[in-house]
Amino acid sequence: MAAAAKAGEATLRHAFGNVLSFFILLLIGVLAFSIRLFSVIKYESVIHEFDPYFNYRVTQFLTKNGIYDFWNWFDDRTWYPLGRVIGGTVYPGLTLTAGTIWWLLNSLNIPLSVETVCVFTAPIFSAFASWATYLLTKEVKGAGAGLTAAALLAMVPSYISRSVAGSYDNEAVAIFALIITFYLYIKTLNTGSLFYATLNAIAYFYMVCSWGGYTFIINLIPMHVLLCIVTGRYSSRLYIAYAPLVVLGTLLAALVPVVGFNAVMTSEHFASFLVFIILHVVALVYYIKGILSPKMFKVAVTLVVSVGLVVCCAVIAILVALVASSPTKGWSGRSLSLLDPTYASKYIPIIASVSEHQPPTWPSYFMDINVLAFLVPAGIIACFLPLSDASSFVVLYIVTSVYFSGVMVRLMLVFAPAACIMSGIALSQAFDVFTRSIKFQLLRILGFSEADAGDGSSANVVPENDAVKVDKSEETIKERPSRKNKKKEKEQMEKAQAEKTSAKSKTEKRLLVLPMELSVIGLLLLVFMGAFYVVHCVWAAAEAYSAPSIVLTSYTHEGLHVFDDFREAYAWLRHNTEVDDKVASWWDYGYQTTAMANRTVIVDNNTWNNTHIATVGTAMSSPEKAAWEIFNSLDVKYVLVVFGGLVGYPSDDINKFLWMVRIGGGVFPHIKEPDYLRDGQYRIDSQATPTMLNCLMYKLSYYRFVETDGKGFDRVRRTEIGKKYFKLTHFEEVFTTHHWMVRIYKLKPSKNRIRGKMKKSKSRTSTPSSKRSGSRKKNPWQ
């Protein structure tokens, strides 16, 4: 009877625990969603930054024209005159996801705009990602660790920075896809179920659809498989977890147009095939080992190894020769810069010029993962007690992702989930130890007081508490009032017992019982640390990462001041220029111009054609006349520059100008970086070089700037500008925004060219003919 009651209680507790963790998970999802809404509340429901605008535009196209037109979309509004095949060069996962959500909602007659769906895709998927983290960590270390890790991931600043509402970028769904793929891999590894293996391949397919970072998965999982084989952990479960993933996954990945045959051709995928072969060899060996006697087996091994080595050497030699014959060794530029951090800055300025491709600084670790950085080592240790297939995988995951995050700031995003999982494990284990100790000690004290009060009361209390635990406490009751000497003895005995348990704790963690005070303090410290983490995350979400970057705000003594200049300029372009006009700007603003102004651009943030970008860079760094010729040959009607000198907006074109020079000079050698530097220093004041002061970017930025305050004081560079009064001969100002942050110039029609030339020749002493020939040479299109 009592046993039945106890069993019922246990199932009830079990059920209660399930319901509790379900609700905790639900709340974690709500937290993950709502912490990302700061941008909507503080600013507005708007797409952020640069790339999200492109994704938004693609999604608009998808929802308007359908999936088939999307696959075949040739976009003629960008990379003029080349155009871009969008369907074949874009990772479609995000777009298809948002498009599906929109379609689903609309077919339910819930008329949400495409923009709204796009804005909220990232927060929704971060809730999914935290649930996936729960599943993954649960597979590794149990439900408690899972819940902790999910809660940590829900608000880790690194992830928030990429998934606030409006940050409609690939990473928003890719992190979810990454974690769910890892979860399904671990799940397959733990269960050996082919069902999960298939799901795993599908999750991998979704990841391939979503983000170029899928190569991380297809390298990490083989590494883990190799690790398992090397450490003698081969099992049929490992085979089931890996082989279907490679076969199905590769087939599915090849379906994505942007990947296509890269899934079998590029070096990023070779590791997986190599391990696939090794796995089969190992499986064969195990099979043969099973059917042969040990002696025969030894003979067979020596035979096979000697033959196999020769074959292997030959194959590897062929492979190496094949790979080495290609200039980049079969690796894409971004992957190479991962393996060799100095690669990009040496060879590809266009990759190096993006701030998120730079290596991070130490403060950025603290900013992005905060206290997790300290918890990670503890988590790694916890993973080794005991080491299982699953925990070895997370250890491998964190080690590799730490390296990658050290190379590129952007990959901090891959590191964050690993850090959360590790910290979740560490925190959960620590809490486990502390609370168990407290419970143990508390019951001891309780039991002591009960004994004092009398036996009757203890009998009453027993059924209330967990029977086993109370009995345990009874066993350690101290009997101070009855016999003092006995009590001393008992204490000694207990001490010995405690020592023994602490000694034993290395192997049997459950025996670890800490003193009451220590565990309470430890618990408090942990809670404090958690609170600090939460406060930091909320701060980061609210202050640091919620700015949409197209709207800037500043607090002055008069209150909030809004700088909405970018949209002002884009709106002006959209409504007051011809539909087919081409707008030239530095590539950063390409996506925004096509999406917001709906005008054709020359280059955009998809930096696929270095020469084209270099042409624009060259035009910007050339004198007015040469620049006009370049732009005119590209059929450009308007030139857009971003200028922060009036209000002190630091990331403007003048600050990016050296990259334009570098990228331009990389293709057109007549642009030389030293020409723009005075003694190696980049300056725009009176010490600046004449080349600098005469280049188009300088002129367009500072045209009539001196008249604002009489001196031409640039608030970003904190100097007076070098050349104050000048006229534009080939360009005319057609629009400048309220805070001068965006200035749009129109190319004057060519008939004005002669007049402009004459003026120029008059003002300068050089003869027009030599001038003409000089500028001719500088035009890369002739």
């Binding site: 009995d471 016999r483 023994k500 348990t501 809004v562």
Partner: protein
């Protein structure tokens, strides 16, 4: 100058044609006094004429004809006649006189006629005075048509100094009110006076019918020439208490085109001089108690707006993203919610919406206005009453959780001026029950979802009852039950051990050896029974193939427990022995301590195993 001369020439031609055909004079009405005031202070031209009609003939006349040249008619936005009520102009709707377009015989072709129905027929010698308000939308032409940022905007207005009418006019006068006193040029006739920003022509006396004398006024006007090429107003009624109005504007500056550079510097430094023709903002007058106002365009919120209001009205000031110079365009959307009870009324089982037709913007000309009234799903018997003729058709719109769609009444009108901002009514029938349709749908949806969940959890979904997987699962369930049993037994064993320990403690306190022995005996019996039970379960587990994975652990657990049991017994007997033999208690304690250590360790192991098995 050349252009103006050409215009004047064209008007002369018109007059010739008019005079050629204008031989027959209608009826015997004469206009004894005509007083015209032309208001040119904004881009909308308003001509208010006070006409005093006298019947000199013998037959009673009930209609008065108004004539407009066709050139003007295409800009005519509104024509309204109302009885004259002294100096204080009171425009009450009820008092307005009906006006309709007519085509009387024998009239010149270049003219369009409107007939005003007088409240009662005029007998011989009777006279009647009434006002005619004519509003023109695009009557002001910018001249020159293209200006630079620094130029002021000059516009040209053409009219006749004499009132164009098929009747003889006895006395007439005309005053033209201009926005500013700066006048480039104006046509000088006899009796022309100028007072500041007002030009007066007349009085002129005894002019024959169809007299025409063109005047041209060329003057500075920096008023905002805000022209909305298209406005779509969507009024959505929710019977839950809200009328949501969404207005999409496509705005253009209809004045002189801006040519050449736009310099922000000049505009910011001297906005009144270098940007005089631009307009920066619009003011919308909205009803009181308006809420949730937003102002945005397709790329997001526009932050430059301001809202203030009191109990009588709400005013919204909106600035477009950039100042609009001549020819510049922009597009935006404003939306606001209104309390339902202010606009929706019930009348004999019918409901009707009573709301203004035009846009709330001040001095805005709308070329094409489309008003859509979205009624709630399930409304029927829809009819519209508008104070002026509009095009009308019906659509349906699918919105939040609709099944059949909401009926939409679409009203369309061209050339809309602020005077059109009158109330119109949409009558419809709607049953209150339809309101509950969507909540019920949601409730039902979630209910069926949960029911499906419950059914799924409780129904055995396996296809084959004899498949290996199904059998394995059944077996596994049995094994689990058995393991549960094992755990129970072990737990009971552990409690027995604890009881033994307790008896030992009692012994040390009371020294009652017999009681302790009795407890021992009872425990022995119990443990024996338990071990029997355990054996049964174990044998089942050993026979079951599904338990092979977990069996070693269980066996280990049982072995450990047995060990523990032995140790506890040994300890018990040693302690009891000590008490019986009365040997040194101190000595016994030493001996027991060693045993106690082993017992605790074993017990810990047993508990660990229990938890481990629990997890599996």
């Amino acid at each position: 100058m050349g252009v103006r001369r050409k215009m004047a020439l064209r008007f002369d031609l018109i007059i010739f044609t008019i005079l050629l055909f204008a031989s027959p004079v209608l009826s015997d009405l004469i206009l004894s006094k005509v007083d015209r005031r032309i208001d040119l202070t904004s881009q909308i031209v308003r001509i208010t004429s006070t006409l005093k009609v006298e019947n000199e003939g013998s037959e009673p006349v009930s209609e008065v004809l108004l004539a407009f040249p066709d050139l003007q008619v295409k800009d005519l936005a509104l024509l309204k006649a109302s009885p004259h009520e002294g100096k204080g102009k009171v425009k009450s709707l009820s008092a307005s006189l009906p006006v309709e377009n007519v085509k009387p015989n024998g009239m010149p072709a270049a003219l369009t006629f409107y007939a005003v129905k007088l409240p009662k027929a005029l007998g011989k010698g009777d006279s009647y005075t009434f006002d005619v308000l004519a509003v023109f939308a695009h009557a002001l032409r910018p001249f020159p048509e293209k200006i630079t940022q620094a130029d002021i905007q000059l516009v040209v207005f053409q009219e006749s100094a004499f009132y164009l009418t098929p009747y003889v006019v006895k006395v007439q006068s005309l005053s033209v009110k201009l926005p500013e006193s700066r006048i480039e040029s104006y046509t000088k006739l006899e009796n022309t006076k100028i007072h500041g920003s007002e030009i007066k022509y007349g009085p002129y006396e005894n002019l024959p019918s169809f007299s025409y004398s063109p005047i041209v006024v060329h003057f500075e006007s920096n008023q905002p020439f805000a022209v909305a090429q298209e406005v779509v107003r969507e009024i959505e009624i929710s019977h839950w208490g809200n009328v949501q109005v969404t207005e999409h504007y496509k705005l253009v500056h209809g004045g002189a085109q801006n040519k050449g550079e736009f310099s922000r510097l000049d505009y910011q430094a001297r906005p009144t001089i270098r940007g005089a023709s631009a307009f920066k903002y619009l003011i919308a007058k909205m009803p009181p108690r308006v809420h949730s106002v937003y102002y945005r365009d397709e790329i997001g919120n526009i932050s430059t707006s301001n809202l203030w209001g009191d109990s009588k009205k709400t005013e919204l000031l909106i600035e477009p993203r950039y100042p609009l110079f001549g020819g510049w365009r922009t597009a935006f959307t404003i939306g606001y919610g209104l309390p339902l009870k202010d606009f929706l009324f019930e009348l004999e089982g019918n409901r009707f919406l009573n709301i203004t037709f035009g846009s709330p913007m001040n001095e805005l000309v709308i070329d094409n206005l489309i008003v859509k009234v979205v009624l709630p799903e399930g409304s029927g018997d829809i009819s519209v009453s508008a104070p002026f003729p509009v095009n009308q058709w019906e659509e349906t719109k699918l919105s939040h959780l609709d099944l059949t769609g909401r009926p939409v009444v679409v009203l369309q009108k061209t050339n809309v001026v602020p005077e059109h901002n009158q109330f119109f009514q949409v009558y419809y029938k709607f049953s209150k029950l339809s309101m509950l349709r969507e909540p019920f749908m949601l409730i039902f949806g979630f209910f069926s979802l949960f029911v499906a969940g419950i059914v799924y959890m409780h129904v055995d979904m396996s296809i084959s009852k004899s498949s290996a997987a199904y059998l394995a699962r059944l077996q596994w369930d049995e094994v689990q039950a058995a393991i549960q049993q094992v755990e129970n037994v072990i737990n009971r064993c552990l409690t027995t051990h604890d009881k033994l320990e307790a008896s030992l403690r009692d012994l040390s306190r009371t020294g009652d050896v017999q009681a302790c022995k009795a407890a021992r005996k009872a425990a022995d019996g119990l443990l024996k029974e338990l071990s029997k039970e355990l054996k049964l379960v174990l044998s089942f587990l050993q026979s079951s193939s599904a338990a092979s994975q977990i069996l070693p652990k269980v066996e280990e657990l049982v072995a450990k427990e047995k060990d523990l049991q032995e140790k506890v017994m040994a300890k018990h007997s040693t302690v009891v022995d000590c008490y019986e033999k009365k040997t040194g208690i101190r000595d016994s304690e030493n001996r027991v301590a060693a045993q106690q250590q082993k017992i605790t360790a074993l017990r810990q192991e047993v508990e660990n195993l229990l938890e481990l098995i629990d997890e599996i």
